[in-house]
C-alpha cells in the first residue's frame, strides 16, 4: 500500500520535473549573452587560465570551493567524533581482503605511479582537465590501495592533520592577502602570465595545488578513519 502511494507521488513529481526540463532543448544556445560567455571571455583575456572550469571553481566562484573544502574537513572531523569509542583499541584494523602477493607487489608498483599522476593532475589543473579535487582524490585512491594491500601500512594521523591545516591556512591566507592588497577576498594579485604556460593564472594555480593537498589529506584521513573501525 505504502509502495503504491510512493510510486504515485513519484510519478506526479517526475511528470512535473520532466515538464520543466523537456521544453529546454538539448545542446542549444539558450542565452544570447549569458554568464557563460563572460566567463569564457575573461578566462582568456584576464586570468590567462586555459581551463575555464578551473577558473570558475577557483576564482569566479572560489568562495564555493572554500566552503567545499570546509565541508570535507567537517566530514572528517565528524566521522572521528561519531566513530569514537571510549575504550580505544588501536592497532587492529578491519581487513577488507586478505590480499595475495600479486596484489601486494602490484600495489607497491602502482602506488608511486598513482601519486605521480595525482600530483600531475593538480599541478596542471589550470591547463588541462583536472585539478585539486581530481588530483587529491587520485592520491587518496593510491593510499587506499596501499591500505588494502598491506595490513600494517599506516598513515600518521598527525601528518595528515598538519597537511590539511596548513593547506587550509594557505588557502584562506592567499584569499586574505588579495583582500589586503587593496582588492577583494581571493583576488588575483600575482601577474597572470601567458596563457597555456605552467606558470600562468597567478594565484589560481597556487590555490588549486593547496586544494589538492588538502583534499588528498582529507580523503585519505576519511578512509583511514572508517577503515580503522572494527567491532
Amino acid at each position: 500500500m505504502k509502495k503504491f502511494l510512493v510510486i504515485l507521488i513519484l510519478a506526479v513529481l517526475g511528470f512535473h520535473l520532466f515538464e520543466a526540463f523537456s521544453g529546454l532543448g538539448l545542446g542549444v544556445t539558450r542565452f544570447e549573452k549569458g554568464v557563460k560567455d563572460y566567463y569564457l571571455e575573461k578566462t582568456v583575456s584576464e586570468l590567462h587560465v586555459a581551463n575555464t572550469v578551473t577558473s570558475i571553481v577557483v576564482n569566479f566562484r572560489g568562495f564555493d570551493t572554500l566552503g567545499e573544502v570546509t565541508v570535507l574537513f567537517l566530514a572528517v572531523s565528524a566521522m572521528g567524533g561519531i566513530l569514537y569509542k571510549r575504550r580505544h583499541q588501536t592497532g587492529d584494523r578491519s581487513v577488507l581482503f586478505s590480499s595475495s602477493s600479486i596484489v601486494r607487489s602490484g600495489s607497491k608498483l602502482l602506488f608511486p605511479a598513482i601519486i605521480l599522476l595525482g600530483v600531475y593532475v593538480f599541478i596542471h589543473g589550470h591547463l588541462s582537465p583536472g585539478g585539486g579535487f581530481q588530483g587529491g582524490a587520485i592520491i587518496a585512491t593510491g593510499f587506499l590501495l596501499m591500505l588494502i594491500a598491506y595490513e600494517n601500512f599506516s598513515v600518521s594521523h598527525n601528518t595528515l592533520s598538519y597537511i590539511e591545516s596548513f593547506a587550509g591556512i594557505f588557502f584562506v591566507g592567499i584569499g586574505l592577502l588579495g583582500f589586503m592588497n587593496g582588492g577583494t577576498f581571493l583576488q588575483n594579485f600575482l601577474p597572470a602570465g601567458v596563457l597555456n604556460n605552467l606558470f600562468s593564472g597567478g594565484v589560481i594555480g597556487i590555490i588549486y595545488v593547496m586544494v589538492g593537498f588538502k583534499v588528498a589529506a582529507e580523503l585519505t584521513g576519511l578512509i583511514y578513519t572508517i577503515l580503522h573501525e572494527k567491532d
Binding site: F97, F133, T141, I223
Partner: protein
C-alpha cells in the same frame, strides 16, 4: 550516429544498474551496481564534454564511494534482511 547509439546504450545500462541496486537484497551486489552507475556516469560526462567532472566522478564516485560502502558492509552485515544467513558465510568479504 554510432556515438548517439552508444549514449543510449549507456543510459539504459545506467538505469538498469539503478533498478538492480534498488531491488537486490544482497547489499554487496547493490553497492557494486551503484559503482556501475558511477562508472557509466563517468563515460556519459566525458561524452557530454565535461572531462573535469568525469575525472572527479571516476576518482570519487567509482573508487572512493564504493570502497567506503564496502567497508561499511564489512563492518555491519551483508544482507538487507536476515533470511539468507547461510549465504552470509560464503561472503568473500568475511
Amino acid at each position: 550516429m554510432i556515438y548517439l547509439i552508444l549514449i543510449f546504450f549507456l543510459l539504459i545500462l545506467m538505469l538498469s544498474a539503478a533498478v538492480y541496486a534498488v531491488v537486490q537484497k544482497d547489499l554487496l551486489y547493490a553497492v557494486i551496481a551503484t559503482g556501475v552507475i558511477s562508472l557509466v556516469l563517468t563515460a556519459v560526462f566525458y561524452m557530454l564534454q565535461a572531462p573535469d567532472v568525469a575525472l572527479t566522478e571516476a576518482a570519487i564516485g567509482v573508487a572512493l564511494t564504493t570502497i567506503i560502502f564496502l567497508i561499511t558492509i564489512r563492518n555491519t552485515k551483508r544482507h538487507e534482511d536476515d533470511y539468507n544467513k547461510k549465504d552470509n558465510l560464503k561472503s568473500p568479504l568475511k
